[in-house]
Symmetry: C2
């Protein structure tokens, strides 16, 4: 990977070829003014190329003379080789201080298929086998199915077989289509000694066509992957908004809707519509025969799971928060209304409680933390944050309501990580001018969760806001102003935005985030405390959820969302639910393990835990009342205070 070195800071970052210079600057911890979200409109992000090669970066905002001198727009220039780039700075201070730490992102954990195969846990729930049967005669007129079963017994040592209606219905024609050459689909049992089910038959040899779908049913988004069960490869992926969104954005509103007249049926139909549409797209994308799909493995939170199964979710939102059922038998996809073949099995992840659902259990399984000695803190951050702490011997879990702040909710200009959402941010320490990067490099329309974390962390470290989240009245910038009695910082001026209005970050927004991160942090602390551990006992943290993998961990620690620890102990698992769903397609033993793991997970209802509120109150500061738990930040703040004194 090319190395980009920024002058005068003398900070470097290794980045992928094709990365924009502005993104490389962020990675290196270097600020470049930029207001337009990174699409070349504002022209503020001029940098001078001193060595190496970039592509693009030339714009009408630059004169021919500028270009000849090596000036480029950092947001448009893409790294092609090792580079040295000079960033224009307002003062020497700029070069030495800001963004004291280069960006530290978590490494990304993914299912390692090869590792799976090595460990012998690549055991799809469904197998296919091609066999050539002897055709019937008057000496041997055994029933078709008996003929198949006897052959499997004698020639393939397959015993304890049962048959399934769809296979019985097909066998007469299928056997005779290719002269009694047939491929049989066998669904393996979870437990040894239990029965293998013959669920499908195909004429001829189709053993190389054995597929499953893994699906994550999120409150907001549903994701599916079509998997090749012979290789474990993902053949197609697709995601879409959960059509239930029109009945309410979060689980509570969904439950409220489910309690009305036909609400449960409506919600059930809505999610089925989404699922079926995704399945259609997966099949089309991959160009496979849908009859060769044999299983769908599904993970979702407790409410999503109950709505999918058409189970009244009423008591999930009412104390004492009782779900209907948390361990599910294998279903027929068809009995759930999932429009796949009549033979398709639907395996639904079990839940632990009303707020620690199948999505979290899936993450625990997919992350393999349940198999390891190390003590892991697994946290899935969304509107609700779910926390699991444990290892192969024990596990504790809890959920807390973070509110929608991390998803851009409840804020004046908050938005999901859609195009135009400010997702990254830095601040010039002298001018307090921002560097704004948006999703899709569009003109800013608002700010999303990761942008918010970074923005607030930077403002806090720069002293723009104090540890209570209030704007420092001594700071002098045209971007900080009072608006209808509310203090705010202008992230982007109206003329630079896509919405024709100033996009701002207001004190109530900061307050919102502090409460959200406070809920999560105090959740972790309370849970650790309940099980008699401290942060230091954690061997690693795994973060799941909608956060981008590029989120700056140091920033997340700066605001006190995560406990301060080595970045290399932090792993980003992305969509843990999806990972777990995929895992149970590829490893049938997971269905046995998951019952054990789920049973082992001790659920703590934080609302019933007296210390939770104390911990929460103590967390409503940046980063926390107990600054001693954040030594690195503490040291940076100290240095900054010194520098500020020196600069006076």
């Amino acid at each position: 990977m090319p190395t980009v070195t920024f002058l005068p800071h003398e900070r470097s970052a290794e980045v992928e070829q094709g990365t924009t210079l502005i993104r490389a600057a962020l990675d290196a911890g270097v600020h470049i003014n930029a207001s337009c979200g990174g699409n070349g409109v504002c022209g503020k992000c001029r940098v001078r190329l001193e060595q190496g090669e970039v592509s693009g970066g030339i714009s009408e905002k630059l004169s021919q003379e500028d270009v000849d001198q090596g000036y480029r727009l950092a947001c448009l220039a893409e790294v092609q080789s090792d580079l040295t780039v000079r960033v224009p700075v307002e003062s020497e201070v700029d070069a030495s201080v800001l963004m004291a730490t280069p960006r530290k992102t978590a490494h990304i954990k993914q299912l390692d298929l090869e590792d799976f195969k090595e460990k012998g846990v690549f055991i799809p729930a469904v197998e296919q086998l091609n066999v050539q049967l002897t055709p019937p005669s008057s000496q041997d007129n055994a029933p078709d199915m008996t003929r198949l079963i006897n052959h499997l017994k004698l020639k393939h040592d397959e015993h304890r077989l049962v048959v399934d209606l769809p296979a019985i219905r097909k066998i007469v024609n299928v056997l005779r289509e290719q002269d009694f050459n047939v491929t049989v689909t066998m669904a393996r049992p979870v437990r040894e000694g239990s029965k293998t089910a013959i669920i499908n038959v195909h004429p001829g040899d189709t053993a190389d066509q054995n597929y499953s779908i893994a699906m994550d049913i999120g409150t907001t988004t549903v994701y599916g992957q079509l998997l090749d069960l012979n290789t474990g490869q993902v053949l197609a992926e697709n995601g879409d908004f959960n059509a239930q969104m029109s009945y309410g954005e979060d689980v509570i509103n969904r439950i409220v809707h489910a309690e009305k007249g036909n609400g449960l049926e409506e919600l059930n139909k809505a999610v089925l519509k989404t699922i079926n549409s995704i399945n259609d797209k997966l099949v089309k994308k991959a160009g496979i025969d849908p009859d060769c799909i044999s299983t769908i493995t599904i993970a979702g939170n407790t409410t999503m799971t109950q709505l999918l199964l058409k189970i009244n979710p009423r008591y999930i939102r009412r104390s004492p928060y009782v779900p209907a059922c948390t361990l599910f038998p294998p279903f027929k996809a068809s009995e759930l209304g999932i429009e796949l073949g009549p033979h398709v099995q639907a395996l639904v992840y079990p839940a632990v409680s009303s707020y620690v659902g199948g999505d979290i259990v899936a993450g625990v399984m997919g992350s393999l933390m349940y198999r390891e000695e190390e003590i892991t803190l697994y946290i899935d951050v969304g509107t609700n944050a779910e926390i699991v702490i444990g290892n192969k011997d024990w596990m504790a879990c809890a959920a807390c309501s973070a509110g929608p702040a991390f998803e851009g909710g409840g804020m004046k200009f908050g938005m999901r990580a859609d195009k135009g959402a400010i997702e990254d941010f830095s601040l010039d320490p002298v001018t307090l001018e921002p560097m704004v990067l948006t999703v899709g490099q569009k003109k800013p329309r608002g700010i999303c969760g990761s942008g918010l974390i970074t923005a607030i962390a930077v403002m806090f470290e720069m002293g723009v806001i104090d540890n209570r989240g209030k704007f420092n009245p001594e700071v002098d910038s045209t971007r900080i102003r009072e608006n209808d009695g509310i203090m705010e910082y202008v992230l982007a001026w109206a003329e630079e935005t896509d919405i024709g209005r100033d996009v701002t970050l207001q004190e109530p927004d900061v307050d919102n985030l502090i409460r959200a991160k406070g809920a999560i942090y105090s959740g972790c602390m309370t849970l650790l405390n309940e099980i008699g551990l401290s942060i230091n006992d954690l061997d690693r943290i795994m973060i799941a959820g909608g956060f981008g993998s590029y989120i700056d961990l140091e920033k997340a620690m700066t605001i006190g969302l995560l406990p301060e620890m080595d970045a290399d102990k932090i792993t980003f698992v992305g969509n843990g639910s999806m990972m777990g769903a995929k895992m149970s397609s590829l490893n049938n033993h997971i269905r046995r393990d998951v019952v054990e793991v789920t049973t082992k997970m001790t659920n703590f209802e934080l609302s019933e835990t007296t210390s939770y509120m104390d911990n929460y109150m103590a967390s409503l500061f940046l980063p926390h009342t107990e600054l001693e738990n954040f030594p690195r930040l503490n040291e940076r703040l100290r240095k900054r205070r010194e520098l500020a004194k020196g600069g006076d």
Copy 2:
């Protein structure tokens, strides 16, 4: 029971109070002229009451003087006490000969519930249990289903429980309807150690409402019984023609139809329509909550079973006669299209082969012959006759095509045993005037199978037809005539019938019956021969099928339909298929036993057995070429010949 003595014959019969005198006469082996089917129209059946009391029997056909003298119409007079009745006879011969043997009917075998209970085999497949759960609290917010399962484990020693979707869907509301008092429906596994499924839940205590439906799906008729699983009692019964009848009368025509375009779907829908309509009627008749029905147990022949399961039956009718599948897993009634609750299990009887189907296996199970030491010949007589020979250690079976003669098919005036069908018959040995009894005591419209057997047996013994089934040209009666070159006997004159035409029995009809009985008898002989046994090795015969239980066994032996043996060794089981379906509702172990029994049943394809055709040819006589196997008949014929000589 009152005894009725007939003079001058001095023959008696014990009959139920309320029996008509004409029926009593038949039972005693006494002929009374009667042409109108027994509804008082012809007035020929005048008898004189010499002692005792009858009700009815007075008609405009009798003058007041007749009545005063004790004359009654035998068809209308009902026995009220011990009686002496004088029958007017034409000659002394009448009194001494005709109907040499009093009627011998088979005793009727029925499921003996008390015996079941005593033997510990009254074990319904589904049980209900009422439990009072502790409501959830913040200290115990286990999921609803977990709460129920834990209670069942701790308080009722119920382990290895699985849950079923319909129960999961209901539990949330059901638990809270009667303050966590709930009745749980548990479907028991077949094998010990396998899992019990929680398939339904009801609020409060409904443990006294636990029902199942047993159903026999016949080619012609579908029968259902609604059973109380707490007592084993039949709460309602209903039967109806199989709506598939409009697509063909027999299995072959059904298969032919199934092979056309949409035929299979049409046939499947037709039988489902009949089943669902019967179920509706059962529920209404019994006045029960249909949600408390938990299982439906189903028996039918192989074609009926495949059509119910929507499986292509094409190869059932083509050599080498291969069915699709003969052992079936438990189904959901709903997946078969049976409109009962979503939790209802459908248990379908396994078959042995294409022509020894689930109806026969059900009969074998229901008759309990599979548990006993005695060697039983079980025979189900219909268009196809299925024969099973064996005991608790071994079993052999075969099917032969008898044609529709026993169901009144293929004959000029043949009909099913509907109203107006001549079902019983005797002949005055001198005048050759008949005694005709019809179903429902209506004017004759035709003759059904049992009437035919009796009529031909009587005519044969009286010498009216010979052992090849030809009318004896020497017999003198206006009732015997040639019609369009075909010899026939007039059973009823036009003016006595319901159809305004003479109802006759023709030589081709006799021929038809001889071929039908020949097929069955030779089937039995061939099967016995294949397994190295003879008739003398049989301990008993069990007859299932549409034959009425009142069929005269001696007559059936006279025509060579049954081998000659003691009448008390012959049991009539009626609808064996229905009996077996009922049995598997009441005795869950049957599902384990039936797999064993079915596997044990060695199927012989008679069409592939060379000796079958020889046996068949030898059977095309009355009773058979080997008259030595019919010693009682032989003796009667000898006596008759002597008498005839004496009478000359």
